[in-house]
């Protein structure tokens, strides 16, 4: 009886093994033929990650595919919306995001906001010590005579940004920073009114742009690169991206 019973058990067990082997074999032969496409956001957004990196680390060799990792999610979502509406002008970005619905853009923004990857440093142009000093002055104190607020008064004391809509400035390449300040002046980068950053960029002189971009790009990264919590700064200008209306002043 005992033998019979074990035989009785052995049979379904054998069938299960055969079945498992067949399954593995089937999966393996399918995999060899065409690996399964993972149903992940990362897989879906190959159009983003091919330039900005799988973890939003940017393309360090080129100053023009900026790091997205760790930037505030609402800031990132806003940028996509600005490209859609033609406020920010860069044809490949406008083309890529032109049809994306708000919920999907928010999901993509949150993906990159949640990424944590080390910063890589980009080369600096040769600038004088005086230029760097001027840049540091603008970062920490601004230029009250020309109504230029300090970078840190909006972007956080460590320049790591502020939740939910103000991006960090440290760790970005010189080329990217100076190009963005320039594009605010040429109206190829704008955002909802009052566009306070456009005001600031227009109050800077050209040499100020070089100075502040060089000083920001040469800054050592703070130990904690996360954006500061919401409400931890009181911006000196009215900014549409922070929900303000009226004149930036």
């Amino acid at each position: 009886m005992k033998t019979n019973a074990s035989l009785h058990h052995a049979k379904p067990f054998g069938v299960a093994i055969l079945f498992a082997v067949a399954l593995c074999y089937g999966a393996a032969s399918r995999a060899a033929d065409h690996p399964a496409i993972p149903d992940t956001l990362q897989q879906r957004i190959a159009a983003c990650t091919s330039c900005h990196g799988v973890h939003g680390e940017g393309t360090p060799g080129s100053g023009y595919f900026p790091r997205l990792a760790g930037k505030p999610a609402a800031y990132l979502a806003r940028q996509m919306q600005d490209f859609q509406n033609g406020l920010r002008k860069y044809a490949p970005m406008e083309y890529t995001v032109r049809q994306l619905p708000p919920a999907y853009m928010r999901e993509i923004a949150e993906y990159f906001a949640a990424q944590q990857v080390p910063y890589s440093r980009s080369p600096l142009p040769p600038v004088s010590a005086a230029t760097l000093q001027r840049g540091e002055e603008l970062i920490g104190k601004g230029d009250p005579a020309r109504r230029i607020p300090a970078c840190s008064s909006c972007h956080g004391s460590q320049l790591t940004g502020v939740q939910p809509s103000t991006p960090g400035l440290v760790g970005l390449p010189y080329d990217y920073l100076s190009a963005q300040l320039g594009s605010w002046r040429t109206h190829t980068r704008a955002t909802v009114a009052p566009d306070c950053m456009a005001e600031v960029a227009n109050r800077l002189s050209e040499s100020d742009i070089t100075a502040v971009a060089a000083a920001l790009a040469s800054r050592e990264l703070p130990a904690d690169t996360h954006p500061q919590p919401a409400g931890s700064v009181k911006p000196p200008l009215s900014c549409g991206v922070l929900g303000a209306t009226g004149d930036p002043s």
Binding site: A47, S50, P92, T96, Q99
Partner: protein, 430 residues
Amino acid sequence: MKWLRWLLPSVVLLGVLALAWMLFGGRGSRPTPPAASKVAAASLRDPALIAKGEYLATVGDCAGCHTAQGGARYAGGRALATPFGNIPVPNITPDRATGLGDWSFEDFWQALHSGKGRHGELLYPAFSYTSYTKVSHDDALAIFAYLQSLAPVHQPAAAPALAFPYSVRNSLKAWRALYFREGEFKPDPAQSAEWNRGAYLVQGLGHCNECHAARDTLGGTPQDVHLSGGQIPMQNWYAPDLSTGKNGGLEGWSAQDIVDLLKTGQSAKGSAFGPMAAVVSGSTQHMSDADLHAVATYLQSLPPRAPAAQPGTPFDARTLAEQGEKVYAKHCAECHGKRGEGVAGVYPPLDGNSSVTEPSGINATRMVLLGGFAPVTAANQRPYSMPPFAQQLSDGEVAAVVTYIRRAWTNQASVVRAEAVSKYRHTPID
């Protein structure tokens, strides 16, 4: 040969008369004020009529042209680039100063059906009245009621920026004589009601032929090239032939494949991209299943086409394709498959894909350069995407891989060269 002496002066005289008629002939007309319209203002406020009009305006994708990037829907404000110059797109919200606020239905009908403005001026055919002339009176009324129900937006249009002689509106007389036949859609009693509905939508409001037929040097589509495919001027995409018959651009597409593409942006045979992605997102995905099946039924009745001339095999075709195969294995095969079979519902097949094998090679070239997301539709709200390869691949590599996919598996299309790739790197994206 005495009569020959009279021939030249006669031809010159006729030419002068024709020119005078073109430039000065014809009189304007007065607009019909809404108060004098045969359509009572109250009847335009019927919610059922407005709802019908909203559906029809969506089928016609009016917002696709009449909305600027980031602008209010239907408020115009952008310019449509044509080979003859820029044509501003008007505001069709009911703003009295800058939109259709002072228009009567009679004015609207004259524009849609006859291609004439309120004052009798000839409209530039960037506004596709060559197709809209087939829209029925009832449907036009519903669309007008819907447009009049929108919130008015104040947005003036710029003046047209056209080169001479196109800047003279009367020059359109000659154009209209060549390419415009005014008249409503005439159902074919020999065909089913479904076929007739499809034909009505495709030929009229859907204005499919405006892109899916080749335009000649005067920007017109000759009458005999219905839906046979063509390059879209200025946009530089190729709108394929829509015949599902032998040698057609959609050869082998089932009715369901057509419905799937129009409803979801994807099908077992290929995905929509470029301008068609915007058409699917903004228009066709919202069409009723009955209308989509009607469109498919009509397209399936298009005649088979003459076989295309076999593309030649230039001496370097094999080298190009061999280089391309390596690029394909490295960058493309992971998603599109070693045999170009794609992944159902995720990545389109490339084997047998009419967008890959279309005559010009533009579509595949630009897809490789631009990448991008599949159309966003209710059925596909988080689409997968393709990386843009413009930064990663040289002109030569793009030409090689495009040549490879156009000639691999069952595909048999012409080679694409590096010079063409470099041209399309600089094509504007909108």
